[in-house]
Point group: C2
Chain length 125, copies 2
Amino acid sequence: MRHSRQRELILDIITGNTTHPTADAIYVAAREREPNISLGTVYRNLKVLAEEDKLVTLETQDKKIHYDYNVLPHGHFICDRCGKIYDMFYEDGQIGKLAERGFSVSGAKCVYYGVCAECGKKEKN
Amino acid sequence: MRHSRQRELILDIITGNTTHPTADAIYVAAREREPNISLGTVYRNLKVLAEEDKLVTLETQDKKIHYDYNVLPHGHFICDRCGKIYDMFYEDGQIGKLAERGFSVSGAKCVYYGVCAECGKKEKN
DNA sequence: TCCTAAATAGTAATGATTATCATTATTATA
DNA sequence: TATAATAATGATAATCATTACTATTTAGGA
């Protein structure tokens, strides 16, 4: 993978950004510093960076991919009203702690990724 | 909400269906019994049924919404290789039990939904 | 039966993401 | 340092899941 000014810029924009921005939001921010950057370039690099585990994607009900620079394992809370995405770093008693902070949880979606038993067997052969 | 043959059919197709089908797959199945049913009708009813908590949506990396008739709280495991979606009904030691069954977990995405503290405060006013 | 609003079928529109491709930029090597 | 090979870009077109639109049909109560 070759170095590029644009990819550097995108990484710089998301690093430390806790707003879980969409590709478009990143594009808008990028144009402030690199006015000719293309939306396609933003998408392409976000995809590459996600494949390299430099960032993590979050598929939500708004049908836009949100990007998270924080690749450490943690969960998210999405407000049904304002749509804001909060990070959840604690592992134990998550819902209880959210309640203490005034967050009411009405539902959860947990998805695990990996290789299933069937495919694991095939790969051994 | 008025009764409709089409909505009944869609509910019948997903009830007990553990494959987490997409709208298109449901459409294909529906056409076998109702050849003139419209794709729009399928989408419209799936949306309504989800709003009525008759089914649950699952947003995945394939950019298609998957529908789950099982509205009881449970998680999912998506195989990176074959894309198959498995249900996870146990609450404790989930990853450990998956490993016992030959599933290797490489990552997880947990999203909680509800109302955040800020919006909750506004609603009280 | 008749009326009214909800639901449908068919189709067009939307919008996020991807693909394409000619051009530019990076980097290894002579 | 110049050059060659090719990865990356910018601009734009294409894709495709989902939604909107609209004329027509249908459910179900008066």
